[in-house]
Symmetry: C2
Subunit: 334 residues, 2 copies
DNA sequence: GCCTTGAATGTAAGCGTTTTAAAAATTCTC
DNA sequence: GAGAATTTTTAAAACGCTTACATTCAAGGC
């Protein structure tokens, strides 16, 4: 049996409340007893039972994280940031991989509710109304990361997608490209899909290149789909010399396709990605990309949730973090 | 306030024990009341408090996972497998990223202890004696994944590293290569470092190529280090035409280096990796590699831990899973 | 020396469940 | 229709901890 506070009390020959005080308000107990208690705690490897404490404090000091795809390096980075923040703030972290499956999200929310997590960071892209209802129904505070909601009023941390996409495309244009394609996220099951497309369009319009706005194909978060999307795009528009991909993984998929078709990157086609994954500098060619502060996004999301939990509100409800253009090898002047 | 069992009881006009029985032994309560209770539960969105239950059952239905590096795709795959198994087996999962930092591991073990996780999967490579002591000290059952321990008697699931490495090198030899190098894990801070080197040596000896056994450089889990290691290796042994990398990430680092040096892969140098990450088929060139059943490793580890938790022991203490050679584009006949 | 004061310590209630044992209600038997 | 047998329900104890309140103790003031 795991030792309880009683065992410690017995060994130190004090009452259990004294033991409790040694842990929670050490200065209120006289040195002689205190050291006896501490000694007993160490000898028994005593750890107070989090259930019993939780029952009293009504807090678990645990945060939940709903993540769509843990095998996506983007989210892996978010997790790392969030976990580091959790360490700093004294929380444990419960991570759930939703695979973008709504049922699974809903069931994880139940789990979180049952385990009494103090709050949740929701990173599963689009905030489904069902999830929102459930979350507010069980009164679990939550924030969104790399997502936001127009429908509901929920704090969020993300990058300015429209502007970032605009910067990416503008960069390609400044390189002298006039035939520009894009591989984007589906608009109906992603939140950054539409704004990134808008950024693409704005840059194009500004440069008088609106004839490109239809050179877009959509992919579904993964490499393989991007490969396929690139195939469709270049079949329809072989004249394209520059490609904006809304994710580095898409950029890799597209480059992989081009490689298989013996089209040189950046020799014949320039490609710019989005995210700046840890992998992106390792790819061949190294990816030019729009960097998101991935780690900081996760870190900040945890801080924001903490703010919400401790003060009941959040100063900046929808926070935008800075993106940055990183020029590497996958792009070149026309 | 979150509704408690009392609120449900009041609303359904029964005693709290009846409510409890509706949830735990529904057939013992008469239909009329049962439906009243169920209705009340739904109306209130009642979820039993896991703290109170945990206090009674002395179980959290939560497993802990100690992972060295969540941004490593290998471990991301392990997590996914483990999480799916946890869903099947009715556990929640608490994931902690240790960054291979011993202090951090130790502190996470304390957290796990406090939160009363039922068991732990330890994936942080080498099982430090301190961790072993602590884990056994607080009597938390645990299993090792993609690791094992000679020093201590702990259940584990992994691949046969020696044989896998042997198969990789043998493949290179069969391709006609005679000048073969290796980029390995440091022997002192990894568990698969030594057996993979042994596999390398065995294949070499068997083919009468023992002059290669010293063509080894070590790297520290990450791309950049492998890049550097490749630099050292090819500076010392420019004659090498085939390279065995003990991780796909190393293979990418090495290929990246070779690319920067304008050495063609597989034209001039064949490279074989290890792991078969999701990324490996996306690389350019697509990686020839030894595939580990990553997802299954995680899945199996959770099952094994469950077995340990429910039966108190484990039928096959050290389990080896099958690896498989996958030939893609980074290797070629000499 | 007695009373007051303040600090140190202990006792017991309570957090939200489950579960045992006892009580109540229902059904069955004759 | 009374009593036994059975089913259904409830009260209360327990899980391990914190904390309000009560008690004890030592020191200080008179």
């Amino acid at each position: 049996m795991k030792p309880t506070i009683r065992d410690v009390a017995k060994m130190a020959e004090v009452s259990i409340s004294t033991v409790s005080r040694v842990m929670n308000a050490p200065h209120t107990v006289v040195e002689s007893k205190r050291s006896r208690v501490i000694e007993a705690i160490e000898k028994l490897q005593y750890q107070p039972n989090a259930f019993a404490r939780g029952l009293i404090y009504k807090k678990s000091n645990t945060l939940g994280l709903l993540i769509p795809d843990i095998e996506n390096l983007y989210f892996a980075g978010v997790i790392r940031g969030m976990q580091d923040a959790c360490i700093k703030l004294g929380y444990s972290l419960m991570i759930c991989n939703t695979d973008r499956d709504k049922e699974r999200m809903l069931s994880y929310i139940d789990t979180f509710h049952e385990k009494q997590v103090d709050g949740i960071v929701y990173a599963s892209d689009v905030l489904y109304p069902e999830c929102y209802e459930k979350l507010t129904g069980c009164r679990i505070p939550f924030v969104l990361v790399s997502s936001h909601s127009e429908e509901f009023d929920v704090p969020s941390v993300e990058v300015d997608d429209e502007r970032a996409a605009y910067d990416a495309v503008k960069f390609l244009i400044e390189l002298g490209h006039t035939e520009i394609g894009m591989i984007g996220f589906n608009h109906d099951n992603s939140v950054s899909g539409p704004p990134r497309y808008e950024g693409f369009v704005r840059a194009l319009n500004e440069a008088g290149l609106e004839h490109n706005v239809e050179k877009v194909r959509y992919a579904n978060h993964r490499f393989e789909h991007a490969y396929q999307a690139a195939h469709e795009l270049f079949t329809d528009y072989p004249q394209v010399t520059a490609l904006f991909c809304v994710a580095d993984e898409f950029a890799m998929g597209a480059i992989s396709y081009l490689k298989d078709r013996n089209i040189l990157v950046p020799g014949q086609v320039s490609v710019i990605g989005f995210d700046n994954l840890r992998m992106s500098g390792m790819y061949i060619p190294k990816l030019t990309t729009i960097a998101q502060p991935i780690y900081q996004l996760g870190y900040r999301a945890a801080e924001k949730l903490h703010e919400l939990l401790t003060t009941g509100k959040v100063v900046v409800p929808t926070e935008k973090m800075e993106h940055k253009l990183i020029v590497r090898e996958s792009s070149r002047e026309r």
